[in-house]
Symmetry: C2
Subunit: 192 residues, 2 copies
């Protein structure tokens, strides 16, 4: 018998992504989001939900662009700071000694020190409730050579992205390799 926990955002895992935008004075701003995910393969898109009250919300509307900087273990404190401070009052990248770089593809900055970044053009805006969902088309993915693994794509064990637990509000790393997708399940095909 399962216990009811009521209607709440108790789902796992959620990502930890740092969203890069330009502010009202064209200054580089970053904020942390966990209500996010991939939402389409063609065109390749991500969805990021932000409250209208945030500075980044207006920045995305105005510039029609944002970056996704994948939060990693070594930047956990910086990433957390990006989520508890506002770009209306502080220069978040400068406070943490991080370097914003202007994207050549979209009107948004990415963080040089973060090993994996996505440059996104705003494709759709979906009003849901407290959060507005921004659907961004991925125009390019850029990464540091050090995190490239097999198949010439990032290796999650080298990237070491953060995982967030809603409500209990904890960061975890990524753990052991469990198995290959589109492969482990083949044993059940014999049974049908």
């Amino acid at each position: 018998m399962k216990k009811s926990l009521s209607a709440n955002t108790l789902v796992y895992p959620t990502p930890v992504w740092v969203i890069g935008t330009y502010g009202e004075k064209d200054e580089a701003n970053v904020m942390t989001a966990a209500w996010a995910g991939i939402c389409c393969s063609k065109p390749p898109c991500v969805a990021v939900s932000l409250r209208e009250a945030t500075y980044s919300h207006g920045n995305i509307i105005r510039n029609k662009a944002f970056t996704v900087n994948i939060a990693t273990e070594q930047y956990a404190a910086e990433v957390d700071y990006f989520g508890i401070s506002t770009g209306r009052k502080v220069d978040k990248p400068a406070t943490c000694g991080l370097t914003p770089v202007k994207s050549e593809l979209v009107a948004a900055p990415f963080i040089k020190e973060f090993p994996l970044i996505l440059e996104c053009g705003l494709l759709k805006v979906v009003e849901i409730g407290l959060h507005t969902q921004f659907i961004g088309e991925i125009m390019d993915v850029k990464c540091d050579e050090e995190i490239i693994g097999d198949q010439d794509v990032p290796d999650i064990e080298k990237l070491r992205p953060l995982v967030f637990s809603p409500v209990s509000r904890r960061y975890h790393g990524v753990g052991d390799f469990i198995g290959d997708a589109f492969s482990m399940g083949k044993k059940y095909r014999k049974k049908t």
Copy 2:
């Protein structure tokens, strides 16, 4: 200097969620999705993107409901099978010896053996491209007592959800505790 990997869904981590629906003959069906995430706090909502070609896509449109069953390490092979087979041809839960349970809140089944499930009513349908995004309002979250931790919410270390790496197509577990969110970043407040 970052290397360009072109426009692709190379972002991390992505969740592994098993989506429960009723099929054309009211039979219980499940499929695995990784293009998904939380998208709103009030009302609490998740977004799940599926290709129109999938059986589950039509099931959600018809029943206006789905469940999210969080994939965990011990069911990795079953979850993978749910992603490489179609409910048009096989009874996936039965093939794996798993038990569908009819939700009392929405017109969709959940899997009894999975420790954490969400019952969702369809709120919005967003056409993006190859994928359709279904935004579901979370009507209830139900879980097994064994995975409850502090604060009376699920403990990610007890739940042991899967993490998926796109393109390289690998499953990983959740790793070490890194720190408390809304806390680790406070040290930077002193600097501003």
